[in-house]
Symmetry: C2
Subunit: 262 residues, 2 copies
């Protein structure tokens, strides 16, 4: 008798693969800035969103001086501050770090299972079969719970992001609907990018958002795009030129990503 | 009394900084393939040079199945085989790994000092002041000695490049003139790219070349271009998707770069 892996079984029970047209304008993940340097304390914005949007209409990032979290959807920029306030940002504003791509779904799956963040990661791992693939993921639908965080704005002297985790503000939304903008980046992109999963949220009414800390899905549609290249735009600043890349920041990045202090 | 560092003194004695116009078509370093994966044994070519040349007219790389070394100059591709034979390659051919940029000199210096490879590196370090800068370097002139290497073509099963160092063929050219195509890439580009210095040679008569192992300069002109971004084109192959990036190959890369067995 054949034995089914738990997530294969899950797929049979509550997931439906839908055909999707795959017209890709550009297959490159674009990074404005350098993740390790940003997390190390380079929070001053240098990239106009007008430049970022030339490389993608979908993505996530950070506002100038870390004043919350940023999500980019259909070429529009949304900022969620530590107060919870969420609003659209003019493309003439600047960002210190953003990751974007032109999102064109190549595969679509649906789920009506109740998945926690880890459950969702495990399920996505079973769908995103290329361990070295660069994936953009768009998840829309309803959620029993979404827990997000946002950082307050920083003042100099800037501390590394891992040292500012106690300053995070958290928000919990129950029975909400909205969108998750996500990337899963392979281990070889570590350094300039944040590897593994990275999710930001925006509610349907565009009034709530933030960096995902925990969730419980209700009924969701998962659209997946696989990219074939990545472009890193390096800050042309003295602060970047003097940044010490010899320090291993992988543990810090992991803590920042999870929103946990240790 | 002021003390002068040795290479500052060198600069005063035998180097002249010349003004150069800086018109840059594209400031991006383009990598076709992934250095760690290539060095780990992915020698089958997948990128047509026609594609590579869209991203740069200057650079270096490897031929299909590691059959020597490649240098790209003024949009032409030159291959040096393990026999020493050096010839132009049609752009319709393929490469497994190449690094290119559009070379536009932003700074030019001249040297009439006798510099060994290490002496040249140290001197360049004093000129390339941005530790986190992405530099393309073109060196033309006369050399007392140039020592290069080239690998013979491989057959399956492919071994990692570091295990094939005993198969290298070496060539020594005395009182020669030609060009060195070089990059100095910052530590944060490690993995997809080879960091530090990486030099390939082509003689003026285009009949000799290879990967630089040692040299002694005579009278040279050093042109320097600084880039502000990098683009990595990932192989869309099963072999790449299954490649294990968790192994630390930094020591292997260093040995391959130096051409030394241990």
């Amino acid at each position: 008798m054949h034995s089914l892996k738990p997530y294969t079984l899950l797929a049979l029970l509550c997931l439906f693969v839908l055909p999707t047209s795959a017209q890709t304008k550009n297959n490159t993940l674009y990074t404005a800035g350098h993740a390790s340097a940003f997390i190390g304390g380079l929070y001053d914005a240098v990239y106009p969103y007008t430049k970022v949007l030339k490389h993608g209409d979908f993505g996530l990032g950070a506002p100038d001086k870390l004043d919350g979290e940023v999500l980019i959807l259909d070429g529009k920029i949304y900022q969620t501050q530590a107060t919870g306030k969420t609003f659209e940002v003019k493309p003439t504003k600047l960002t210190p770090f953003a990751v974007v791509s032109f999102f064109r779904a190549k595969k679509t799956v649906k789920s009506t299972c109740k998945l926690s963040k880890n459950g969702l990661f495990k399920y996505l791992d079973s769908v995103l079969t290329n361990q070295n693939g660069i994936y953009a993921i768009k998840i829309t639908g309803s959620f029993d719970t979404i827990k997000t965080r946002a950082f307050p704005p920083v003042t100099r002297p800037y501390l590394p992001l891992a040292d500012m985790l106690p300053l995070q503000h958290f928000f919990t939304f129950n029975n909400t609907s909205g969108i998750l903008v996500d990337y899963r980046l392979p281990v070889f992109m570590d350094g300039p990018n944040i590897t593994g999963y990275h999710f930001h949220f925006l509610s349907d009414d565009k009034k709530a958002g933030g960096h995902i800390v925990e969730l419980l899905t209700d009924s969701i549609t998962i659209e997946i795009d696989e990219l074939d290249s990545f472009l890193v735009d390096i800050p042309q600043t003295e602060e970047f030129n003097n940044f010490d890349f010899k320090k291993d920041r992988r543990e810090e990045v992991k803590r920042v990503e999870n929103g946990k202090k240790d």
